[in-house]
């Protein structure tokens, strides 16, 4: 595993922050207050207070049905909460439409990759650039108005494609890419928006180990460039490896947050998500175990909570 540790000055901001739910952080980029979303009788998301640290990687974990993707949808304007407010860079985002959230610098990817299959890879990339003059109806009819910009966008797209090792695929239809390549393309495409914060919904799901390593490197690179990352992931090795801060959700609520070391030993997280086998040796952080835990089959929260008193 490449040992590119985060710049000390960046992670140091979290040194004095206690691993408590809803704890305040210095200079947060996203602040969430009382966001509730229910579908009929089911409360999918109920977050009292959450702050995401700027310029760092935050991992969002939790069992299936914990509300992680719904939380993503709410934050990015793809779904509307029943109540609550949240602000990005100090500006409230409640009621802002999805495309405007993206324009303000918060871009998300999807758990089920949304590659635009009948567009070529390069077109997928060029599409994502913002402020394109040629996207206005009348200027679209006058190529001189957008040709130069298009050339710049293409150069930037090729740079990113090269970084993600997709440059040889530039003229292939996105639909011909493999699942892993589509994940790479989606991440690269999100970066074309030049966001301040990227929200990645299971970027490593269904990706082989080699490609996972390369994706991890890319995510760390983003932090190196000063970008904020929030990502959902089930592989605890990955979470422990790259996160600076971890938030754990279960049944719509945040049940723990803190630096990765503290999360691995948090009893609420173990109950709800990681499973009981870690109790036998609580000193070993899951990230250090040789075999990655597979939390999905062990998310029987009710039974785990019933059997073992805390």
């Amino acid at each position: 595993m490449p040992a590119d540790a985060p710049p000390a000055a960046q992670t140091a901001v979290l040194d004095g922050v206690a691993p408590e739910i809803g704890v305040a952080k210095p200079d947060p980029i996203l602040v969430v207050d009382g966001v509730v979303r229910s579908f009929g009788g089911l409360t999918a998301v109920d977050v009292d207070h959450l702050e995401l640290p700027r310029g760092l990687i935050t991992g969002l974990i939790g069992p299936n049905g914990a509300g992680k993707t719904t939380f993503f949808n709410l934050m990015t304007g793809f779904d509307k909460p029943n109540e609550g407010t949240w602000s990005f860079n100090g500006e409230p985002l409640a009621g802002v439409s999805a495309h405007n959230v993206a324009r303000r610098g918060m871009v998300r990817t999807f758990q089920l990759t949304k590659s635009l299959t009948r567009l070529k890879v390069i077109e997928n990339m060029k599409l994502a650039a913002t402020q394109q003059r040629g996207e206005r109806f009348l200027s679209a009819l006058m190529p001189p108005a957008w040709r130069d910009q298009e050339r710049d966008i293409e150069a930037r797209a090729m740079d990113l494609l090269a970084r993600f090792k997709l440059d040889k695929m530039r003229d292939e239809y996105a639909g011909t890419l493999s699942g892993g390549q589509r994940k790479l393309l989606e991440m690269a495409r999100a970066l074309m928006v030049q966001p301040e914060m990227v929200m990645l919904d299971e970027p490593m799901a269904g990706v082989n180990p080699v490609l996972t390593q390369s994706l991890l490197r890319h995510v760390k690179d983003l932090r190196g460039q000063g970008m904020t990352v929030l990502f959902v992931e089930h592989d605890m090795d990955v979470v422990m490896d790259i996160s600076d801060w971890v938030v754990c959700m279960a049944e719509g609520r945040i049940i723990a947050e803190g630096p990765p070391e503290s999360i691995g030993t948090n009893s609420a997280v173990i109950d709800a998500y990681l499973g009981r086998q870690h109790d036998e040796d609580p000193a070993v952080a899951p990230g250090a175990s040789a075999e990655p835990p597979h939390p999905e089959p062990r998310t029987q929260r009710a039974s785990a909570a019933d059997e073992e008193p805390r």
Binding site: L116, E123, L127, E135, A140
Partner: protein, 330 residues
């Protein structure tokens, strides 16, 4: 039986004003369906608005023809807004339901006795394109060879009509190679992805709906001018499906697809029609097997058969991209 005459009939139909009208309607549908993924099943409604906008302005209110065309185009934009505002935020099928219903409502309202003082009811309106034919520089006569000939009036409309088709093809081509067109394609592929990348999906769908509707209305105007008459029953829902047939024959999502498709549709339809009629008249097909009055229906059966064969052996249409089509099935 004269096979040459069958070919002449087919060739005449290939370029006549009906082909122009279908081509324009299909170009609009291509923008909606082929490039943006909008299911507009009410293109006949846009054509009706085009035709009646012109006819009502001139025949009922005595306005000049240029104003009639302007009213037709404004009416088309208005129809797009009314249809699009409530439905474009919803899933694609809602637009399909609303458009097909709206087209039928328009037709029934326009033919009702209540609207007759303005629309002429079931009898429609006549003689509103005289200024257009007055401008005709082509001297009187018949132009062409044998059966493949047009009157000077039809020829004049064909010159203007095909120029219009060329202009619209050029417009769509210019738009679809621009970043604007790229956004439309992205919406067709996955509108949530487009939204997540900062594109105002609703705004682009509306632009597409308005522009495609406008081009469809031009088709309606050509049809009305050709006959110098409008009648609500010309614009039944089946007209929309003829336009879709033309689009699929030519190839969806291709700039030239709808034009080639409209010509093919006319050739096949008129070719079969002429062949059957002449075969019956010449005794090749016995009259007790197929009567002349049944030809109108049988030719559509044959067109349907042809369409089925096309879908089996060339599902992308004449000009479609098979690679793209296969991706779609994944």
């Amino acid at each position: 039986m004269n096979i040459g005459a069958v070919f002449a009939d087919a060739a005449r139909a290939a370029l006549d004003p009906f082909a122009i009208a279908y081509a324009l309607a299909a170009i609009g549908l291509n923008l909606h369906f082929g490039f943006t993924g909008l299911l507009n099943f009410g293109q006949a409604g846009f054509m009706l608005i085009g035709a009646y906008g012109l006819a009502i302005t001139v025949s009922t209110f005595g306005g000049p023809m240029w104003l009639g065309i302007l009213v037709a185009l404004l009416g088309s934009v208005l129809l797009s807004l009314i249809l699009g505002l409530p439905t474009l935020r919803l899933r694609a099928d809602y637009l399909a339901i609303v458009t097909i219903a709206a087209a039928e409502i328009l037709r029934i309202v326009f033919r009702s006795g209540w609207a007759a003082p303005v629309t002429g009811g079931a009898f429609g309106l006549q003689r509103f394109a005289n200024p257009f034919y007055a401008l005709n520089p082509i001297p009187d006569g018949r132009y062409g060879v044998a059966n493949w000939a047009y009157s000077e009036r039809t020829l004049w409309l064909m010159v203007v009509g095909w120029s219009l088709v060329g202009l619209m093809v050029l417009l769509v081509w210019a738009l679809m190679r621009s970043p604007w067109g790229r956004v439309l394609l992205a919406i067709r592929e996955d509108e949530d992805a487009a939204r997540s990348l900062g594109k105002n999906v609703y705004g682009y769908k509306m632009q597409s709906l308005v522009l495609g509707g406008l081009i469809g209305s031009l088709g309606g105007i050509v049809l009305a001018v050709n006959q110098q008459a409008v009648n609500p029953d010309t614009y039944q829902a089946i007209v929309t499906f003829f336009a879709y047939t033309a689009l699929i024959l030519g190839g969806t999502g291709r700039v030239f697809g709808p034009v080639i498709g409209a010509i093919m549709f006319q050739v096949v339809l008129s070719g079969f029609d002429s062949f059957l009629r002449r075969a019956i008249a010449g005794g090749v097909i016995p009259a007790d097997v197929l009567a002349t009055q049944e030809v109108g229906i049988v030719r559509f059966i044959l067109v349907g058969l042809g369409l089925m064969l096309l879908m089996i052996f060339r599902p992308q249409g004449m000009f479609g991209n098979r690679e793209e089509l296969l991706l779609d099935a994944r």
